[in-house]
C-alpha cells in the first residue's frame, strides 16, 4: 500500500489517507473531546516531520534530553511501580502521580500507542510526549477538566510547537462556557504563557528519576511557579 512498517504498531498512511484522517479526527475530537483515540490521531497526523525534527533537536541540545533520546525510557505499566509510588510521602512527585492515576481510575498504558509516525526517532519524541502529558498536568497543578486541559495545551503548544496543542488550546478554549472562559483569559493564560517561556523544556526532563522529590522542589528545578502561589 504505502511505506513499509517500521515498528509493531505502525500503520503507514499515504498522503490522501493522512489528510482525510487529519481532517476527520480533528472534527471528531472537537465534537467529542472525550474520544482519546481521535485526539491522538489528530496529534499524530498534524505533527509534520519538520516540527518533530525541530523538537527532537531541542531535546538533543539538552543534556538530559540527549540521554532520553539515546536510552528511550518508557513510562508504562511495566516500568512504573504503582505500589512503590503509592507508598511515597504525600507531597512528592511520585505520590502526586499515584493519586492522579487513582483519581482518574487509569494507568500509564491507557494512552493510545503512536501509530502514524513514519520515522523512528520522531516516534520516540511523540511517544514521550504522550507518556509525559500527565506529568505536565501535575507540575502545573492543572486539573483534567476542560479548563485545565486547555491550559496545559497552551503550555505544550508554546513549548513544543505541536499543531495539535496549539489548535487544541484555541478550539478547546472556544468550547468553554462564560465563567471558565473568563478565568482562562484573565488568569490561566497570562500565567501559563509566562511559565511556558521561562520553564525548562518539559519533554527533555527525566520525570521518572524524580519521583521521590517533593513536588515543590521539582517545580523549582523546572522553573515553574504554580498559579496558586501568585
Amino acid at each position: 500500500m504505502s511505506a513499509p512498517k517500521l515498528y509493531a504498531a505502525h500503520i503507514p498512511l499515504n498522503p490522501i489517507s493522512r489528510l482525510l484522517l487529519g481532517i476527520g479526527s480533528a472534527a471528531a475530537a472537537i465534537t467529542d473531546p472525550k474520544r482519546g483515540d481521535m485526539v491522538a490521531a489528530m496529534g499524530e497526523t498534524t505533527a509534520l516531520a519538520p516540527i518533530l525534527e525541530n523538537l527532537r533537536k531541542r531535546m538533543d541540545s539538552d543534556v538530559v534530553g540527549r540521554r532520553l533520546l539515546k536510552e528511550k525510557p518508557r513510562i508504562s505499566n511495566e516500568t512504573i511501580d504503582r505500589k512503590k509510588l503509592a507508598a511515597l510521602p504525600v507531597g512528592t512527585l511520585g505520590k502526586a502521580y499515584s493519586e492522579f492515576l487513582e483519581r482518574l481510575n487509569t494507568s500509564p498504558d491507557a494512552r493510545p500507542t503512536v501509530k502514524y509516525i513514519d520515522n523512528l526517532e520522531h516516534l520516540y519524541v511523540m511517544q514521550r510526549y504522550r507518556e509525559t502529558h500527565d506529568f505536565t498536568h501535575i507540575a502545573l497543578e492543572q486539573k483534567t477538566n476542560m479548563l485545565g486541559e486547555v491550559t496545559v495545551k497552551y503550555f505544550e503548544g508554546i513549548q513544543y510547537g505541536l499543531p495539535m496543542c496549539v489548535t487544541g488550546g484555541i478550539f478547546g478554549g472556544a468550547r468553554l462556557k462564560t465563567k471558565n472562559r473568563q478565568e482562562l483569559l484573565e488568569r490561566n493564560l497570562p500565567w501559563v504563557v509566562e511559565q511556558a517561556t521561562n520553564a525548562r523544556l518539559f519533554l527533555a526532563f527525566d520525570w521518572e528519576n524524580h519521583f521521590e522529590k517533593p513536588l515543590a522542589d521539582v517545580q523549582k528545578e523546572l522553573n515553574v511557579v504554580p498559579l496558586k502561589d501568585l
Binding site: 490522501i16 489517507s17 482525510l20 484522517l21 476527520g24 479526527s25 471528531a28 481521535m38 490521531a41
Partner: protein, 276 residues
C-alpha cells in the same frame, strides 16, 4: 526420453527423500483467506465473528458513510425486483440488522420472514430496530442465530432465500448455496446481493477509495480501522460475477443469471430450484 533421475535434478538433495514430502503434507492445515491474510479455516469463522460483533452498533452508520447512502438504493432495487408469492415464507440469511427483512415486509403484506445471522449482536441490533420502526409487524419476523453453512431449518420449507452482503464472509460460499438449495421448496427462488468485480475502467478510482478512504472512515466513525480494512480486502477475494454464477449452477440451480449494479460494485445473482 529423459532418464528418470534427471527429473529430480532441480530438486534440492534434502527434499529428495519422498518420506519427507508426505509427512510435510499431513501436517499442513487447510488455510483460507481473511482479507489479504491467510488463516486456518477454523480461525476464519471466529475472526469474522469478531469483526461483526465489533461493528454491530455502528454498522448502519458506517454503511451510509461508506456508500454515501447508495447502499439503500441497492437494497431497494434488490427487494423491488423480487416476485414474492402470497403468504410467502422467506429466509433472509446474514440478515443481521434487518435492512432486507424490513424491506421484504413492506413489499409484501402477507410474507413471513425468518431473519438469520451467525452473529448474535447483529441480530440484537435488528430486534431493537424492529421495535422502533412503526410500520413493521414484529409478529411476522422471527430471529434465529445460525451458521449459513449448516442451517437448522427443515428442507423444502422456503419460497425465497435472500442474502445481502453476507456470503463473502462465509468460509465456504458453495456450502451456503448448497444449504439454500436444500431449504428452498422446489420452484423456490435464490437471490443474493453481494459486492463483486467492478468494471475495469472504474477499478483505479474504486481501489483508491476503498483502501484510502474506507479504513480511515472506520477509524473516525467507529474507532475500528481493522474491521473496515478486512471489509475492503474481503471484497477482492470473493469470486467474480461469472465464477459465482458457476458455483450456483453447480449446486443444482437452474435459470442462473446476474445483474450488475453501479458498474459492478455489487451484483444480484438469481437462481431457481428445479420443480421435480
Amino acid at each position: 526420453m529423459k532418464r528418470a533421475v534427471n527429473i529430480l535434478k532441480n530438486v534440492p538433495k534434502s527434499s529428495r527423500n519422498l518420506r519427507q514430502f508426505s509427512s510435510a503434507a499431513e501436517s499442513q492445515k487447510k488455510t483460507t483467506h481473511f482479507g489479504f491474510t491467510d488463516v486456518d479455516e477454523t480461525e476464519k469463522e471466529k475472526k469474522v465473528h469478531d469483526v461483526f460483533a465489533n461493528v454491530a452498533k455502528k454498522y448502519d452508520l458506517m454503511n451510509d458513510a461508506m456508500s454515501m447512502g447508495v447502499h439503500r438504493l441497492w437494497k431497494d432495487y434488490y427487494v423491488g425486483g423480487l416476485q414474492i408469492p402470497y403468504n410467502a415464507k422467506i429466509l433472509d440469511m446474514a440478515g443481521g440488522t434487518g435492512d432486507i427483512a424490513f424491506r421484504l415486509l413492506r413489499h409484501s403484506p402477507t410474507a413471513k420472514v425468518t431473519v438469520s445471522d451467525i452473529n448474535q449482536p447483529m441480530l440484537d441490533v435488528g430486534k431493537e430496530r424492529a421495535q422502533s420502526e412503526r410500520d413493521i409487524q414484529t409478529s411476522r419476523l422471527e430471529w434465529v442465530c445460525a451458521n449459513a453453512e449448516q442451517m437448522p431449518f427443515e428442507s423444502n420449507t422456503y419460497d425465497l432465500f435472500t442474502m445481502s452482503f453476507g456470503i463473502r464472509n462465509c468460509t465456504h460460499p458453495e456450502k451456503v448455496v448448497r444449504e439454500a438449495f436444500r431449504v428452498l421448496k422446489p420452484g423456490g427462488q435464490l437471490t443474493i446481493l453481494e459486492f463483486s468485480e467492478v468494471n475495469s475502467t472504474l477499478k483505479p478510482i474504486y481501489d483508491a477509495y476503498s483502501f484510502n478512504v474506507i479504513p480511515v472512515l472506520g477509524e473516525i466513525l467507529a474507532s475500528d480501522r481493522s474491521s473496515y480494512q478486512y471489509l475492503v480486502e474481503s471484497i477482492r477475494k470473493f469470486p467474480n460475477q461469472d465464477a459465482f454464477a458457476q458455483i450456483i449452477r453447480e449446486e443444482g440451480f437452474e435459470h442462473v443469471r446476474y445483474e450488475n449494479l453501479t458498474l459492478g460494485v455489487c451484483s444480484i445473482h438469481k437462481g431457481t430450484k428445479p420443480r421435480k
